[in-house]
């Protein structure tokens, strides 16, 4: 039982990573109602932007990280304007949009690989200097703690944005019914553009923090995206709080699921849980 505290901490760390991915994904899906696979590649974009600025050029971290987030936000916005917006104007089906997003994902991933090679990179310059904390017998690093706090802050920020600002109300209106939102005078393309920018910025931040915790590689986006999607579906797709709940639940299920069996079953357990929810509770734990 002496591994129990560390298992709990590991679950929380995993939940924190999935939370960041799920938050942005849910924000976008909740507004435009299609699975944006391109979202996954934006985690790599953020990570590599910081890699280039911080490790290769030597820009201070307090400049590199915001710049990385802004880069992801900008590229996410551009993908929306250049790929998704024209397709949506033509009333393309969800399948077409999904395929378009897959194309965006593949293209972005390939560009990152060409620019930076496929080699695995770390963002931290020396993990030996990183602070490590003991929490009730479990160990958590400084980066992991930052990841956890950031996820909670962003969740609160998005919740407040959606509830108390005109922009947030417009986002919810577009998510509920885009046509009616247009009729009542909401500039839906602009709102959606901002949603993509904000969601993509969150994806970039997730990639940056994962880069400091483990590392970055051009193909990092797919596995993060899949876990974010599973978390969103479990928690309640389109629901900000649901995504967070699903993320931590997924973290706990994965880590406790392999307590007595081999660790290679982790992903199988995650996807088995996804299938169970799709079969028996497709709306997730919390409804939108």
């Amino acid at each position: 039982m002496d591994i129990l505290p560390q298992l709990i901490v590991n679950s929380i760390i995993a939940g924190a990573i999935y939370t960041l991915v799920a938050l942005g994904f849910n924000l976008i899906y909740g507004t435009v109602k299609f699975f944006d696979l391109g979202y996954g590649a934006l985690t790599a974009v953020g990570g590599y932007a910081v890699f280039w600025l911080y490790k290769l050029i030597g820009v201070p971290l307090y400049v590199a990280v915001p710049a990385g987030v802004l880069t992801s936000a900008l590229i996410g916005f551009l993908i929306y304007r250049l790929v998704y917006a024209p397709l949506r104007t033509r009333k393309s089906s969800g399948t077409v949009l999904l395929v378009g997003s897959l194309g965006a994902f593949t293209a972005l991933q390939a560009i990152v690989a060409i620019l930076f090679t496929s080699q695995f990179q770390t963002l931290s310059k020396d993990s030996g200097a990183e602070a490590v904390y003991q929490i009730f017998g479990g160990v958590i690093t400084q980066v992991q703690l930052i990841m956890l706090v950031t996820g909670i802050v962003i969740m609160i920020g998005i919740a407040l944005l959606l509830k108390f600002t005109m922009f947030g109300k417009a986002v919810k209106a577009v998510g509920d019914d885009e046509e009616v939102a247009k009729i009542v005078g909401i500039n839906t393309p602009r709102v959606i553009g901002w949603v993509f920018a904000i969601g993509s910025g969150i994806a970039g931040l997730a990639g940056i923090l994962v880069g400091f915790d483990t590392g970055i590689e051009p193909t990092m986006g797919l596995s993060l995206l899949l876990k974010g999607v599973i978390a969103s579906i479990i928690g309640g797709i389109g629901n900000v709080y649901g995504g967070v709940l699903g993320a931590f639940l997924l973290g706990f299920i994965e880590n406790f699921g392999i307590w007595k069996i081999s660790g290679e079953w982790k992903d199988a357990i995650a996807f088995a849980v996804l299938i169970l929810f799709l079969l028996f509770r497709p709306q997730g734990i919390l409804r939108r």
Binding site: S118, F120, S127, G128, T141, G215, E264
Partner: protein
């Protein structure tokens, strides 16, 4: 519009045919060694090391009548087979070089069928077979395991845990160590080959408190395991095998690999090779580089012997099988009856952030 499309299509086909014929004509007079190695993807770094060795050998090949062409396998068997077949019909293709078990195992039957020498950096035990056209140019898992187990004994360890990546390499080493290690294996934990978070597995292993943790994985995973083990304050001695012996092990570990032991084929090379490599690439060579360099030279040497032989292909195979103390850059090269290199292993340790030979 239809007529336009038809004419464009015809024009395109004509251009493609002209290019194909021209390309064929250009290559018709050169003997070709085809290097099907990962130049992109997750193992591109290993492919780069292989390419270095091949390039260095090629630079000395002027006048030999042999050239090397590169194809990117992406470590994907289907891609590699397609590239193999592209050259299989060309009578000037005299040998193939490759890296990585998935590709080597996929090309093995084709090389045998085509009666063309295939020299591979490969870890899969099943690659070895008696007196055929395929050669392993790195140490077998059996030789590597013997050295790993010896090292475990040397440090006085009584209990062992194994962390392995879930592929041919990792599982092959796991099964071998289970068959050959006489001590207690207290835990075995697997993870996907592309995993970046092994904390769950490490947490379970930590609870068993083994003296040694053997990590059967490539360098990226080993670096991450070392780093995460340090975060979790794991006190067990970490050991890894040849697949982790690449320069990016330390960059991935980012300071977390201190004390890690690496059992690897010797990267030592003669002074002139080391100087030439360091001048060109600003770092010491990987064993992948030295083995590939020797392989190209072996092929060139065999071609000199077999050049006018009526059964050229058989002669190439037999000549390479029969080499005795071929002057490699690291040590005299010999193959056993399965075409496996009699490799030499050394122990390295990470001391003050650098790998040092013990």
């Amino acid at each position: 519009m239809n007529k336009k499309v038809v004419w464009i299509a015809i024009g395109f086909i004509i251009i493609v045919v002209i290019l194909a014929v021209a390309n064929n004509k250009q290559s018709s007079s050169d003997k070709t060694v085809v290097a099907i190695i990962p130049l992109s993807g997750a193992t591109a770094r290993t492919g780069e090391f292989a390419k270095r060795g091949i390039d260095m050998a090629v630079a000395e090949l002027k006048g030999s009548g042999i050239k090397v062409v590169y194809e990117d396998s992406q470590l994907d068997p289907k891609t590699a087979i397609s590239e193999f077949n592209r050259y299989a019909g060309d009578k000037n293709t005299i040998a193939y070089l490759t890296v990585g078990s998935p590709v080597a195992m996929a090309l093995k039957p084709l090389a045998q069928q085509n009666r063309t020498v295939l020299m591979s950096i490969v870890s899969a035990p099943a690659y070895s077979s008696l007196n055929d056209y395929t050669f392993r140019i790195n140490g077998t898992a059996q030789i590597e395991l013997k050295n790993v187990i010896q090292q475990i004994h040397d440090i006085g360890a009584k209990s062992l845990a194994v962390l392995y990546q879930n592929d041919d390499y990792g599982k092959g080493l796991l099964n071998s160590i289970k068959a050959n290690y006489a001590g207690t294996i207290v835990d075995e934990e697997g993870f996907p080959a592309d995993a970046t978070d092994m904390r769950s597995q490490l947490t379970k292993v930590k609870s068993k408190n083994p003296d040694v943790i053997f990590i059967a994985a490539y360098s990226k995973a080993v670096g991450l395991v070392a780093r995460q083990a340090k975060d979790l304050a794991l006190r067990s001695q970490l050991i890894c095998g040849s697949a982790c012996d690449t320069p990016d092990l330390l960059s991935t570990a980012a300071g977390g690999a201190e004390g890690l032991l690496v059992i690897a084929p010797t990267p030592k090379a003669n002074t002139s090779f080391m100087s030439a490599h360091n001048a060109a690439y600003k770092e010491d060579p990987s064993y992948v580089t030295t083995r590939m360099y020797d392989s190209v030279n072996l092929i060139v040497q065999a071609d000199k012997v077999c050049g006018t032989n009526a059964d050229y292909k058989s002669c190439m195979k037999d000549t390479i099988h029969a080499v005795k103390d071929f002057p490699g850059v690291a040590f005299p090269v010999n193959f056993d009856q399965n075409g496996d290199l009699q490799d030499q292993f050394i122990v390295k340790k990470v001391v003050n952030g650098a790998l040092q030979i013990q």
